[in-house]
């Protein structure tokens, strides 16, 4: 069967190329959308998971903006008083409460994200150290500022401090790579925050009691307790509206692909009327002719699908990495996306072939022969 289709489409190479490219554009858009969405979801999941807390305590305000600020190392206008810490630690089921202040400061003259915390941070981060002193530097910062263990760095904003680099963290592919971690008091001094905190990261003793603990913490004045999963869902919901627009655009591209293929197949049926008439005269059934055009459309669509996947892969490599909420989303590729794209290509091929194939199958050989 394939050789018949190849022989037939060979006659109209230019149109074949245009049809394949038409389908490929739709499939490429879909593939890029799928891989970028997954990349975005993965990045957000990684960042929120990287906070290492089951409950995040934030000052009153928009919890999502505050969480993002925390992840990105940006300072916030509202803060939690440090005096709240003992009360937080006193709430039942709280195993550890890690205070955090974040902000942008100059490190060796270059603007960098600063993360101030206490030794409690070692309970939620796996840095491979037993003592938190001096400056622990993320891998990206170390590379950018050419820092190594034992060097001294100068931190400067509202106050100036000089600290020794006690550890350069290994690259983890998360936000920690972009921070300089220093003791809480040093960070508060440099950022001019007094005894305020940007957030408190809480780990619970009994994970099943997280909800009750969260409500107990949330009842404290000027503090809101947010589970990271809720932040994740909300941010993904916001991304979802962007995604819906992209799906709409993809849908339009796919419909355009269907119409292009349908047009090509209708033209092919019209041009090959004589061939179809002869085929019917020498014994091809309506089903044979219908199958011939459906298979032809399917093969063309599959070629478009394969090209589209390749185009989508290449395109997603060149799209901006920062795709939303300041997150660096690396496109995620999976065989499932290849499968979805192939299925869409098959659907395009089938849907667009049905009408032209029906017209071809209904060709009455006698009418064609009389016109010859």
């Amino acid at each position: 069967m394939v050789w018949i289709i190849v022989a037939n489409v060979k006659k109209r190479k230019a149109r074949l190329v245009m049809t394949v490219v038409g389908i490929a554009i739709g499939v490429a858009t879909l593939f890029a959308l799928l891989s970028l969405s997954a990349g975005m979801e993965g990045a957000l999941d990684r960042e929120i998971g990287g906070l290492g807390a089951q409950i995040i305590l934030l000052p009153e305000g928009c919890p999502y903006e505050l969480t993002l600020a925390l992840m990105q190392g940006a300072d916030t206008l509202e803060h939690i008083p440090e005096e709240s810490l003992p009360r937080i630690r006193g709430v039942e089921n709280v195993r550890s409460a890690v205070p955090a202040v974040v902000g942008r400061v100059k490190v060796n003259g270059q603007l960098t994200s600063l993360y101030g915390t206490t030794e409690d941070v070692l309970q939620i981060k796996t840095w491979g150290i037993t003592e938190f002193t001096g400056a622990v530097v993320g891998s990206d910062v170390a590379e950018k500022l050419n820092l190594s263990r034992g060097q001294r760095i100068t931190l400067d904003l509202y106050a100036q401090e000089s600290l020794e680099v006690t550890k350069v963290l290994e690259a983890a592919g998360g936000r920690d790579d972009t921070f300089v971690f220093v003791p809480l008091a040093v960070a508060q001094k440099i950022l001019g925050l007094g005894s305020s905190l940007s957030a408190v990261l809480v780990q619970v003793a009994d994970i099943d009691e997280t909800t009750q603990t969260r409500f107990a913490l949330g009842r404290m004045a000027d503090i809101q307790a947010v589970p990271p999963s809720e932040v994740f869902d909300t941010l993904m919901g916001l991304f979802g509206s962007v995604k819906q627009t992209l799906i709409l655009i993809t849908g339009i591209a796919i419909v355009a692909g269907i119409l292009t293929t349908m047009n090509t197949m209708t033209m092919a049926v019209h041009e090959r009327k004589k061939d179809i008439g002869i085929l019917r005269a020498v014994g091809s059934t309506q089903r044979d002719v219908f199958g011939l055009f459906v298979w032809e459309s399917l093969l063309v669509s599959l070629a478009g699908g394969a090209l589209g996947i390749a185009m989508g892969y290449v395109a997603s490599q060149f799209l901006p990495r920062t795709s939303g909420f300041g997150l660096e989303a690396t496109p995620h590729f999976s065989l499932a996306y290849v499968g979805i794209c192939i299925l869409v290509a098959v659907a395009v091929g089938t849907v667009s072939a049905i009408y032209p194939a029906m017209v071809a199958a209904r060709t009455q050989p006698i009418r064609t022969l009389r016109e010859l």
Partner: protein, 219 residues
């Protein structure tokens, strides 16, 4: 195989524009017959051939295949009769230019998923003396070779009757003679019924029986 036309009339058009292409035709064709249908242009020769080949249905009267009226048969059954029992040869050959001689012969068998199709197609080409041209495209074949290829396509599925509509109309006398020799050999050696529509008396002379058609009437 017996194809029988009983009081067959065929009209085209409606109302005042109605035109009777065939009137009261009675004709019986059997496997092994060699019949030529002659007559002036527009006399109804091709219409008669189309009715015999189950490509068209009569306006009045009955066409029967082995005693079964064709108007009781579905489109698929008629297609299968054309595929398995009747072969068609056209004046203009109607070969697919993008397919080799073998592929052209194979095409209807491939679409019908006929068993042993490749061997059948190769045998048919060998029968018409084109075994050395299986990989040639129609543009690489002479007019006579193209018509032999078309005959091979008609023969590929071992039909009982071959219907040829002016098979030598586009060929010179010598090549036309060779094509008719091929059809005559098939009739003689394999008992394939041959019905040839022609203007050419030399072609008509190959047949054992000659039918005259004039103004839609058989005489």
């Amino acid at each position: 195989m017996i194809v029988e036309l009983q009081s067959v009339c065929k009209a085209y058009g409606q109302g005042e524009a109605r035109f009777w292409a065939i009137r009261d035709a009675d004709l019986t064709i059997r496997a092994g017959d060699f019949i030529s249908i002659v007559g002036p242009s527009g006399s109804g020769k091709s219409t008669l051939l189309h009715l015999l080949g189950c490509l068209d249905k009569p306006t009045e009267g009955t066409v029967q295949i082995d005693g079964e009226p064709i108007d009781r048969l579905a489109d698929r059954q008629l297609s299968l009769i054309r595929r398995n029992r009747i072969g068609f040869v056209f004046q203009q050959y109607y070969l697919n230019e993008c397919m080799t001689a073998l592929q052209n012969v194979l095409l209807p068998l491939e679409l019908g998923k006929v068993k042993g199709r490749k061997e059948k197609a190769a045998d048919a080409l060998e029968r018409v003396g084109l075994e050395s041209k299986v990989k040639s495209y129609p543009s690489e074949l002479s007019g006579g070779e193209q018509q032999r290829c078309a005959i091979a396509r008609a023969l590929a599925n071992c039909p009982e009757i071959v219907l040829a509509d002016e098979p030598t109309g586009c060929l010179d006398t010598e090549t036309g003679g060779r094509i008719m020799d091929t059809l005559a050999d098939l009739n003689e050696q394999r008992q394939i019924g041959i019905v040839v529509v022609t203007h050419d008396e030399r072609v008509a002379a190959y047949a054992r029986e000659q039918i005259q058609v004039c103004d839609g009437r058989i005489s």
